[in-house]
Amino acid sequence: MTGDQVGERRLSIGAAIREAIIEEMQRDERVFLIGEDIGIPGGFGGAFGVYLGLPEIFGRDRIIDTPISEKAIAGAAVGAAMMGMRPIPDLQYSDFVFECMDEIVNQAAKMRYMSGGRIRVPLVLRLPVGASNRGAQHGQSPESYFIHVPGLKVVCPSDAYHAKGIMKAAIRDDDPVLVFEHKLLYGSKGRESAGGLDLTAHVPEEEYVVPLGQAVVKRAGTDVTIVATHLVLYRCLAAAEILAEEGIECEVIDPLSLLPLDVETIYASVDRTGRLVIAHEDTLTGGWGAELAARVVGERFDSLRAPIVRIAGHDVPLPVAPALEEAVIPSIDRIADQVRALVAARR
């Protein structure tokens, strides 16, 4: 899919998202950035450095630094979007989204409907997720709350190629899109922070757009379908390698967007494998895996040869101690064990 040939241009997710934003800001002057610490000279370029260099290109008028006021940021984005702009608000860590839920759930998502379809709210809210030993208020993966909000779209890119393409699609979308990015996958800190993963991918020079609602088959397989996002997606791929040596072939699918969700690709895979594993870092109960499981048991009951297994962050606030955090987030071992048990039980 992403064509990893030698010699081709490889970018980290952070760099790919920066490129997408630059291209869209050049293409459409209605696009602007708004958030805390995003454009201050000598500052951070956003909490994860994604905006570094942008003020020099676009000026501070289109990269608007704000007070520490999440409601003001989200509210300003909603208002500007209604008046014809295409804001990209930034919340530093997704954990802070709870400070502006009203603007997102009650305003951004509902304005179009309440107006009888006459007003649009095109905005792209960037929300970094993922545990990184910072504890309960700086490591959540809150994407699942938002698939429950009619009117929103929810995107979870996990590699540079698709991150760039879907970010461009999101910016061109006429609806509010929430983009959840995993902070250990940005790639800015190199391999270690993500446990030895190569976090770059081929990103062609030419312009391309990846539409919302198209899942990506990351690995083909026949025995079990695994649907996973973000860091856990890579852990599933690693587990799949281990399992392959044992003769268990996993098909690993990156849904890429959770709403719209490309259930067709997933259904087709489950029709073939008869087994479904869903894995995410977000906590289990009420997570997006529940919705996918419910869809599949509702619409593909006859394809299922075994129970659907969900592997997720445990239902606890995130602890800081590495020994504890590791126990909470799905590990390669936990994934491999559960897949093994699933396949063994129904040979």
Partner: protein, 339 residues
């Protein structure tokens, strides 16, 4: 607040226009109340009787390209900004011909064609989003201004604080119109803060604030014109505190037992319709007849609107599933492949 309305700066046409505005709002609300009691309107209504001078004065000072945000109590704002009586009334009936196709209802009246986003029924919700409207106008260099209506109760919300502070530091073209009618639902403002004059709370944001007789449509108009000019000229936002009163209950079914009869009577004496009429007629007694004619015209407009709304069709059930997303994106629960 007992001074006569000063109409010296208005010609007779303009004065009549303002009077028409006041009468339209009053008659509309009085009629809505009856219709509601008869059971013709679904849901609930929050009414605007008593506060008409605020909406009419403010909107008269705005340009046609300007926008407003509104609240759970939006009927007056909507009519004053130019939403048609037919569209508003049909919306209250939940009819397909309503200004929001029956999806918004009383608390979400709006019409982008006349510069009104759907009213926001979350207290202070408009203060949050109006910054973005002002920001868009500033970035677009369009010279437009946004006026943001809210009650004094909204000033205790975090959204007020964050929104006004951000607009101030960005010098956005916004006019904040705080309708201080002394109560938020059953709760008197002075029970909710130690600083019961809203103008005294705005120093925290470094923007100008002015206290205005909200029962005087001309005073409201002038204060708004000044604030609008400052905003459009890059001078940033102004807050206008309109001292006013709602004659009716908070919403239908409110017996207003938390207020004293004397207080209500004192404010009724300041009825903005009477005060404008008195001023106009005392300047030129021959206006009396023309103002009567205005009232009759408004009655006819209202009658037409009620008939229109009654006779309009219910929205088709399938409409419930449109307008959620901008493109031809299916509602996930409606099945059909994509979730």
């Amino acid at each position: 607040m007992n001074e006569p309305v000063d109409v010296s700066g208005l010609d007779a046409d303009h004065a009549r226009l303002l009077y028409r505005g006041l009468v339209r709002l009053r008659r509309f609300e009085d009629r809505v109340y009856q219709l509601f009691l008869k059971g013709e309107l679904p849901g609930t209504v929050h009414q605007y009787q008593g506060q008409e001078a605020v909406a009419v004065g403010v909107c008269d000072a705005l340009e046609p390209g300007d926008w407003i945000t509104s609240t759970h109590r939006p009927h007056g704002h909507a009519l004053a900004k130019g939403v048609s009586m037919r569209g508003a009334m049909a919306e209250l009936y939940g009819k397909a011909t309503g200004c929001c196709g029956g999806k918004g209802g009383s608390m979400h009246l709006g019409d982008p064609d006349v510069g009104m986003v759907p009213a926001i029924a979350i207290v202070a919700g408009g203060v949050s989003i109006v910054s973005g409207m002002g920001l868009a106008f500033k970035l677009q260099g369009s010279g437009q201004v946004a006026a943001c209506f809210f009650g004094e109760g909204a000033t205790n919300e975090g959204a007020f604080h964050e929104g006004v502070n951000f607009a101030a530091v960005q010098r956005l073209p916004i006019v904040y119109v705080c309708e201080n009618n002394l109560y938020g639902a059953s709760t008197a403002y002075h029970l909710t803060t130690l600083v019961p004059d809203v103008v005294d709370r705005v120093a925290a944001y470094g923007i100008p604030a002015v206290s205005v007789d909200g029962m005087d449509v001309v005073a409201m108009r002038e204060a708004t014109a000044e604030a609008r000019e400052r905003a459009a000229g890059g001078g940033g936002p102004t807050l206008i505190e309109a001292k006013t009163y709602r004659f009716a209950g908070h919403s239908r079914g409110d017996a207003r037992k938390y207020r004293e009869r004397e207080e209500e009577d004192a404010w009724r004496d300041l009825d903005p319709l009477t005060r404008l009429r008195d001023a106009v007629v005392s300047r030129d007694p021959s206006e009396a007849g023309r103002l009567d004619a205005v009232e009759a015209e408004v009655e006819a407009e209202l009658e037409d609107a009620v008939t229109f709304a009654r006779e309009s069709p219910e929205p088709d059930a399938a409409e419930a599933f449109t307008g959620v997303y901008a493109d031809a994106f299916p509602v996930p629960s409606m099945r059909g492949g994509i979730l």
